[in-house]
């Protein structure tokens, strides 16, 4: 049995980089790993997903309703991917979301933040990743903030993930990303312990 993580967001938010960090950490720990990604047409502003299966030696595809953890860089995408999660699976999401163009151009009704949070049930960690990433040094580190928040729930050591970040992100941004990881880790654990 593998520990299956669903990473979702909107094209350009860094789902692939995040799954690469997890994949590198698996290699560092000698754990087999499989991942599946969205490439090509769907990248153009569409919903994107990366599936990553820690400890899996067969295929890359997660079965809907069985994912152990959902990591989402956009609150609406978290709701869209909710059915992938098993009962009792963990959710770590940004509390922000981008309104899809279809809401404006085709008059689709748009849910607001509280409606979206309601659709995620009761058990989730929703972080102001934008604010935390800004404090870490760049809004581009939001994905690593969220990874940090989820990291205690992953079957991988914090040190492997830190080493994987060093190996995966651009050289100049290593310190900033490590800071974002720690800040996310702290923010995540304080949310979980809150009543």
């Amino acid at each position: 049995m593998s520990f299956d993580v669903m990473i979702v967001g909107v094209g350009g938010q860094g789902t692939i980089l995040t799954s690469n960090i997890i994949g590198e950490a698996c290699v560092l720990e000698g754990i087999p790993v499989r991942g599946a990604e969205t490439h090509g047409m769907a990248q153009r502003g569409g919903s994107v997903e990366s599936q990553i299966r820690i400890g899996q030696e067969y295929g890359p595809l997660i079965v809907p309703g069985t994912a152990d953890l959902l990591l989402s860089f956009d609150l609406m995408e978290a709701v869209r991917a909710f059915h992938w999660l098993k009962k009792g699976g963990k959710i770590f999401t940004s509390k922000d979301f981008i309104t899809p163009t279809s809401v404006f151009s085709q008059d689709f009704p748009a849910p607001d933040e509280s409606m979206l949070l309601g659709m995620l049930g009761l058990d989730y960690v929703a972080l102001d990743t934008l604010c935390i990433a800004e404090q870490a040094g760049s809004t581009l580190t939001q994905n690593v903030v969220l990874l940090g928040a989820a990291s205690p729930s992953l079957p991988l050591s914090g040190d492997s993930l830190r080493e994987a970040i060093r190996k995966t992100v651009p050289q100049k941004t290593i310190d900033m990303n490590l800071k974002a990881f720690e800040m996310g880790r702290e923010a995540g654990s304080s949310q979980i312990s809150a009543p």
Binding site: V27, V33, H83
Partner: protein, 589 residues
């Protein structure tokens, strides 16, 4: 030996380098593109890497390299193999000298394609070996070994990964990179390389004589293997084999097919030892056809029996369902998941500031009653803008347009085609349209790059795959050389000029060509071009939604008024559309 976390296409590229490949060419196509993209990015490479103008060209160049004794690979997506099918069929006759691998990446479920064709059928048709990996490690190992298999049988080898191999990731054990010590030397032999009837009849016979040994060899090589456990069995191949292994019951026999042609005798010896056999493969029943030939008393479940679909991609939960339906034990049982939430769709969309949106906006305004054949590229997303009426294959926009003209369709026919697609197979259509007197308008959407597949350079870019600066091809000169007399170029973000040119084209008979030229916004961003963003003056905005209907993802509607978000790339087209002048350059406070 080192373990790396890699994309399938990166693992495949590394396998080619371990085989000391000499020449790699291809035409971009999802999901195949990252193989050449990985190979061309290697500094100080000891091999040639090229983006060719189409798959037929790539195929023939790689074949020529093989005839010169070098190891070569050509890469394409499945539909690209249709374009290269002409040399494919006869290269099986002429055979090869240096190892020659054809990578044709299939796309079950058509994630990013116009159809779901199965390249294995081409291998059967051409009578050449086909390797079909089930994991990334196998993809890496197979392509590395495919070159020597090609040399052993003097045949092209078709390597067929699918989307879930090319675009999935895994820990992969890599070997050492080797550098070739071969030199190109073509040894003349007309009986092999000149396929006049007298030669080709003999070559065809030789091709057929190779088949029996080939089948045996693929079993010996371990690509096709089985393990007998009980009275029920699964026969599977490709990435579907990894789904089967995840969910199959522990007492069920398993045969995995990784290479074609299949040795019927070998497969029969497996199948006939079982009472119930499920065949699991994506797309065409290539394995199943052989299983049915050798079934004996075994009952076969698969596509013919209606248990496994002919279309779409498979998955662990689907395979578990087929096992249950066939009365074969699975190791897991999956509950039906909850329904996905109903949310506003977030479909792929042309980027904020994309030049295609402006051109298509103008097309819609000028040709209200027009018919719009289009082509394959980012601009196919113009479907959402109402100016894509047909797409069938690369280059077919111009020919579908001229065909409608020939058929006598009376409305304005205006086709759109990208720069790379025009060079791929559009030129012939334009030449034919002018020659035969069609009445059409051809709009070339020239953003100087092959954008959709990940920004590969092409002859309009002024740069080769490996970054060598070269003169850019002149589309105007090409169009005039094809005989077009009305050939005009405009910046599509200048809405007034583009609209005037389209009106002029509408008023003239014959073939009119308009080249809408502007760099792709993604290329601009990468080149660090920064423009001042635009903003809406809410004292002037009347909430008419003219800018919102333009469909730019940077424009939103809040409390009845337009708002421009930080996605804005500063193209300024919305300011030209606004009827009350409420949009202007952002002023920093």
């Amino acid at each position: 030996m080192a373990v790396h976390y890699l994309l399938g296409n990166e693992a495949i590229a590394h396998g080619c380098r371990e085989a000391a490949v000499d020449v790699a060419c291809g035409y971009p196509g999802t999901p195949s593109s990252e193989v050449i993209d990985s190979l061309r990015m290697v500094p100080d490479r000891a091999y040639a890497a090229e983006w060719s103008v189409n798959e037929k060209v790539a195929f023939e160049e790689a074949l020529a390299a093989s005839w010169c004794g070098l190891r070569s690979i050509c890469t394409m997506k499945h539909v690209g193999l249709n374009v290269a099918a002409d040399p494919l069929m006869t290269s099986a006759y002429t055979g090869t000298k240096g190892g020659f691998v054809i990578l044709s990446a299939d796309d079950p479920y058509a994630h990013s394609s116009q159809n779901e064709q199965d390249s294995r059928c081409y291998a059967r048709f051409a009578r050449i070996p086909c390797l079909d990996p089930s994991t990334l490690q196998e993809a890496h190992d197979m392509v590395r070994d495919a070159f020597s298999l090609s040399e052993e049988f003097s045949l092209p080898v078709l390597f067929r990964p699918t989307t879930r191999i090319c675009h999935s990731k895994s820990d992969v054990t890599l070997g050492d990179i080797r550098v070739s010590d071969r030199t190109a030397l073509f040894e003349k032999d007309p009986r092999q390389y000149v396929v006049i009837p007298a030669h080709t009849r003999i070559l065809h016979k030789k091709l057929n004589q190779k088949q029996q040994n080939l089948k045996k060899r693929l079993v010996e090589a371990g690509y096709n293997r089985f393990e007998i456990k009980g009275k029920t069995a699964v026969v599977c191949g490709g990435v579907a084999a990894s789904y089967v292994r995840e969910v199959i019951g522990k007492d069920v026999s398993l045969a995995i097919i990784g290479a074609y042609p299949i040795d019927e005798e070998w497969l029969g010896s497996f199948v006939r030892q079982h009472e119930r056999v499920l065949v699991v493969e994506e797309l065409a029943p290539v394995i199943e056809d052989i299983v049915l030939q050798v079934q004996g008393q075994a009952r076969i479940f698969g596509k013919n029996s209606g248990h496994v679909p002919y279309e779409g991609e498979l998955s662990p939960e689907r395979v578990a369902t087929y096992l249950t339906a066939a009365g074969i034990p699975a190791s897991v049982h999956y509950e039906k998941p909850s329904e996905p939430a109903a949310l506003p769709p977030r479909s792929p969309i042309l980027c904020a500031g994309c030049m295609h949106r402006t051109t298509m906006y103008a097309l819609k305004k000028v040709f209200r009653d027009g018919i719009f054949p289009s082509d394959i590229g980012c601009y196919t997303l113009g479907l959402q803008l109402g100016v894509v009426d047909t797409t069938i294959c690369m280059g077919a926009s111009i020919t579908i347009a001229s065909g409608m003209s020939l058929a006598g369709e009376k409305r304005d026919i205006v086709c759109t085609i990208g720069d790379s697609t025009f060079l791929h197979t559009g030129i012939q259509g334009l030449m034919n349209a002018v020659y035969n007197g069609a009445n059409i308008t051809v709009v070339i959407l020239d953003n100087r790059i092959t954008a959709m597949t990940g920004h590969q350079p092409n002859p309009t870019t002024g740069q080769t795959a490996t970054g060598v600066q070269v003169p850019a091809v002149s589309l105007e000169a090409v169009c005039r050389a094809c005989g077009a007399t009305f050939v005009e170029t405009a910046d599509p973000n200048d809405l007034v000029t583009v609209t005037a040119l389209l009106k002029e084209a509408k008023s003239r008979p014959g073939v009119k060509v308009i080249i809408a030229r502007r760099a792709c916004v993604i290329s601009e961003r990468r080149a660090k071009v920064v423009r001042v963003r635009f903003a809406v003056n809410h004292d002037l905005c009347i909430g008419c939604k003219a800018c919102v209907k333009f469909g730019c993802p940077a424009i939103e509607l809040h409390n009845g008024l337009a708002l421009i978000t930080d996605l804005c790339s500063g193209c300024g087209v919305c300011a030209q559309i606004c009827p009350v002048g409420a949009i202007g350059r952002e002023v920093k406070e």
